[in-house]
């Protein structure tokens, strides 16, 4: 059997080192299998998150050879094994232990986004009618598995640490799913501009590239939201109208 070496971050919030582990490789293995094997063979206390092992829950996000990926969907035959494979936690958030990052910030951010507010049911049976065409674009956004890989690669969060001012691509997609929901009546444009920092995004599309669900984050979610903000707040005619309204 072929063996490969994995260089894995071991350590807590403050200090850590990269430790090498060797394990046997079999056909079809993914990175998460290697981590599990290492846990069972030589490092029972190696911490990693995982659940579904099928790319559906978004728990096992990590940086594999520096690339943000889901460990469960990264086949070993797609990465070079002649040198150690590095596995590290996602870096846009503080590490907790080994491969685990503290993603609690994301859960706090979500609460700050105004919730779904449907219009009153208007079909005879007390529900609504929506055509498939009208829900297609929202369904794209709702595929999100909250793996936070998009947050991880976003330079506004990763390099500039604007966690206080910017909600990141995941929550712009979340806001877009609400804003473009055919039944929703809430207006989040003001919040997007002021509280959620949509202006920070300069459309480098790194988030779109890493999305394991292939959501067209930048083009389909962020840019249309930016356009709404521009229409609402920077359209000269509307500004004039608002000026008079205020009086």
């Amino acid at each position: 059997m072929k063996k490969a070496t994995f260089s894995i971050r071991r350590g807590g919030r403050e200090t850590a080192e990269m430790v090498d582990y060797q394990t046997e490789i079999s056909e079809g293995m993914v990175v998460l299998d290697a981590v599990h094997q290492i846990q069972a063979e030589s490092a029972p206390d190696l911490a990693c998150r995982w659940n579904c092992k099928a790319g559906k829950c978004g728990s096992c996000s990590a940086e594999i050879n520096g690339m943000p990926k889901l460990m469960c969907m990264t086949r070993l035959d797609t990465i070079p094994l002649d040198q150690p494979v590095t596995i590290e936690p996602i870096r846009a958030f503080p590490p907790i232990k080994d491969l685990i990052a503290d993603v609690s910030w994301n859960y706090e951010v979500k609460k700050r986004i105004k919730k779904f507010k449907p219009r009153a049911p208007d079909a005879e049976d007390g529900t609504w009618r929506m055509s498939q065409e009208d829900v297609d674009r929202v369904q794209e956004f709702r595929k999100c598995i909250e793996c936070f890989l998009c947050q991880d690669v976003c330079h506004v969060l990763r390099d500039h640490n604007k966690h206080e001012e910017f909600i990141g691509p995941r929550f712009l997609v979340y806001a877009a799913a609400l804003e473009m929901h055919p039944l929703d009546t809430e207006d989040r444009t003001g919040d997007l501009k002021d509280m959620h920092g949509i202006g920070y995004c300069n459309i480098t599309k790194c988030c779109t590239k890493v999305c394991p669900e292939h959501i067209t984050i930048t083009d389909n979610a962020i840019i249309p939201l930016k356009e709404r903000v521009v229409d609402e707040y920077y359209d000269p005619l509307k500004r004039l109208v608002r000026l008079f309204r205020k009086k």
Binding site: P44, D45, A47, N51, C52, G55, G58, Y107, Q132, Q139
Partner: protein
């Protein structure tokens, strides 16, 4: 006096999948304070893996559907050992629960006239599954999560419950530990709801994540509650079989609902070979009729691929055993063939089954729009679980409620696909509602510090030994044994052997050793999970030995036929005063006339 941090709520919900979230929402809506304990991060529970949809007789795609048909389908699928009252409530209430999800923001696939679209599934007479492509579970959990976070529910993520705390007969909270620092915590509650899901990790080949270790089953059992129907395990007919690392991962029944067919290595569509008598007049006899059914012809009968899961799984086993399997020990599931019937087949498949397309493309390097998949049975779901009152979901222990997969009754001997997600929201709601009522009527209990100290001390033992057994190895050996001895095809001697094996594993589990410290230590967690896995495995084996017949998810090679005598009761397992597991028969109460009439009317 223990000085562990103590959290007080009126209602504590253990488990944050569909049932737990729905229960928490209902209880907090009733005005009580709710704490929700998740083993993982919020929104990652196994519910996300549910693919096909949730069954609710809304009749959008076929107006002949109604609660009566759904009820009779569920009873027939469960081979009439279901709790009929649960099956009735479920069939009647599921449509409202689905519509409620829509009002909370869920975006289901639509019919042409703009209503929620419903798809065909095994054992359901009419198209009944509200769905979102093949990621319905994600839609369910996200909708509940995003609705729930605005309800004032306190969420405790990455916290594992070790034992339930009692005051006399009544459950008054739980002892738990938080993963990051490994510290113990006490949760005090006037009522506790278990919504911990399944037991799949007791088996080697499973669709379940690491979390499916039967926690709620074992917590309830240790607290004195009864478990019923534990012999009924659902082996889903279509799990991935190749490559080895993905063995067991689910391939949705939706593939067959969209026209996918099963073939053996000779290219034969073998499901036509064996159609059970009680499904003969509902099942098509020709391939042509089967296709008409999946494309919406109301006069056509369903193809045999859409027979119940227990039956399809056994037919696949039969083909493999007879040497007509695929190279890696499965059979072929082919959706690509529909290109003979429709023009834009590859696009259609990607649209209807996007996550299946990606799953096979990425994990098996296989394009399902051109190539048949290799599939075989995988441990998927436990019909058995905590015995509950159908209306209130209260267990046989006061103050302890259960909902979802860890509760039993609705499914009988076999669950129909799609009945699980609807079970979560129907009975999650009921559990939340009645736990809140219980909490309003009862105060907090008094903690038993000695019991808490004892449980905490026991939990830390794996660190205190000077060397010992690797918990991962014990888990692995348990899974191998359960797969081999109490799997899809069972017989007496092998199961008795399993009971002996379990005794040996129990003593090994008492000698585990875990290196490292208590901070986020999966080895420690695995050691602690062993107790739960051993309890459920023993319950499964004991009940399976007693049921000397074959019914639904329980198949005995030595008793291959169905015996009407065994239709009269459920097996119940309970901790005896001496600490051993006690099995008894609980007679199934007679069905009221109006339900009997429904069964008769539906044929």
């Amino acid at each position: 006096m223990t000085d562990y941090p103590t959290f007080e709520h009126d209602v504590i919900v253990i488990g944050a999948g569909g049932a737990g979230l729905r229960a928490a929402i209902e209880a907090s809506g009733a005005g009580v304070s709710v704490g929700l304990i998740c083993k993982s991060l919020l929104g990652k529970a196994h519910t996300v893996m549910a693919e096909g949809g949730m069954a609710a007789a809304m009749g959008h795609n076929d107006d002949r559907d109604n609660w009566k048909v759904h009820f009779s389908d569920t009873m027939r699928g469960g081979q009439y050992v279901n709790n009929w009252r649960m099956a009735e409530l479920h069939a009647k209430e599921a449509p409202d629960r689905v519509r409620e999800l829509e009002s909370w923001g869920a975006v289901f696939d639509r019919t042409k006239d703009g209503r929620i679209n419903q798809r065909n599934f095994g054992g359901h007479r009419y198209p009944r599954l509200a769905h979102v492509g093949d990621r319905t579970g994600l839609e369910l959990i996200r909708t509940l999560q995003d609705h729930g976070i605005h309800q004032g529910i306190e969420v405790y993520m990455e916290v594992t419950v070790l034992s339930l705390l009692k005051d006399g007969d009544r459950v008054i909270g739980c002892l738990a530990y938080e993963r990051e620092h490994g510290r113990f915590r006490i949760y005090k509650a006037k009522a506790v709801i278990l919504a911990t899901g399944g037991i799949g990790r007791a088996y080697k080949i499973t669709s379940n994540s690491w979390e499916g270790t039967g926690d709620g089953h074992a917590l309830a059992y240790d607290a004195g509650a009864e478990l019923i129907d534990m012999e009924f395990i659902q082996f889903h007919p279509t799990g991935m079989v190749w490559p080895p690392s993905v063995r067991g991962i689910l391939v949705t029944e939706g593939v067959r609902g969209e026209g996918g067919i099963l073939r053996n290595s000779e290219g034969k569509r073998f499901m036509f070979d064996d159609i059970p008598d009680n499904y003969k007049d509902q099942t098509s006899d020709t391939e042509e009729e089967g296709w008409r059914y999946v494309t919406g012809d109301k006069n056509a009968r369903r193809p045999p691929e859409l027979l119940t899961r227990d039956h399809v799984a056994r037919c696949i086993m039969r083909e493999v055993k007879a040497g007509r399997g695929s190279p890696h020990g499965g059979v072929y599931l082919d959706i690509a063939w529909i290109k003979e019937k429709i023009k834009d087949a590859p696009e259609h498949i990607k649209k209807k089954l996007p996550s299946m397309y990606h799953q096979f493309k990425q994990l098996a390097n296989l394009d399902i729009t051109t190539t048949p998949m290799e599939v075989g049975p995988t441990t998927h779901y436990v019909m058995g679980g905590i015995r509950v009152n159908a209306d209130t979901q209260e267990s046989t222990v006061p103050g302890l409620f259960a909902a979802g997969e860890c509760a039993a009754g609705i499914n009988g001997a076999n669950r129909l696909g799609g009945n699980s997600l609807s079970d979560l929201i129907v009975f999650g709601k009921r559990a939340g509602e009645h736990a809140a009522i219980f909490a309003k009527e009862n105060g907090h209990g008094t903690l038993d510090n000695a019991a808490i100290e004892q449980a905490a001390k026991a939990a830390l033992e794996p660190f205190e030994r000077d060397g010992g057994e690797n918990p991962y190895t014990i888990q692995h050996d348990l899974q191998e044994m359960m797969q081999a001895n109490v799997g899809i095809v069972r017989q007496h001697d092998e199961m008795v052997e399993a009971l002996n094996g379990l005794d040996a594993l129990k003593s090994r589990a008492a000698r585990t050793f875990v290196p490292g410290n208590i901070d986020f230590n999966p080895g420690w967690h695995t050691a602690l999970d062993l107790h739960n896995l051993l309890v459920v495995s023993e319950a499964i084996a004991r009940a399976a030995i007693e049921r000397k017949e074959s019914r639904g998810g329980h198949f005995r090679e030595d008793f291959p036929g169905k015996d009407p005598e065994f239709a009269k009761f459920n097996y119940s397992l309970k901790k005896s005063e001496g600490g051993g597991m006690e099995i008894s028969k609980i007679p199934i109460p007679e069905m009221p006339d109006y339900l009997k009439e429904v069964i008769e009317e539906m044929g």
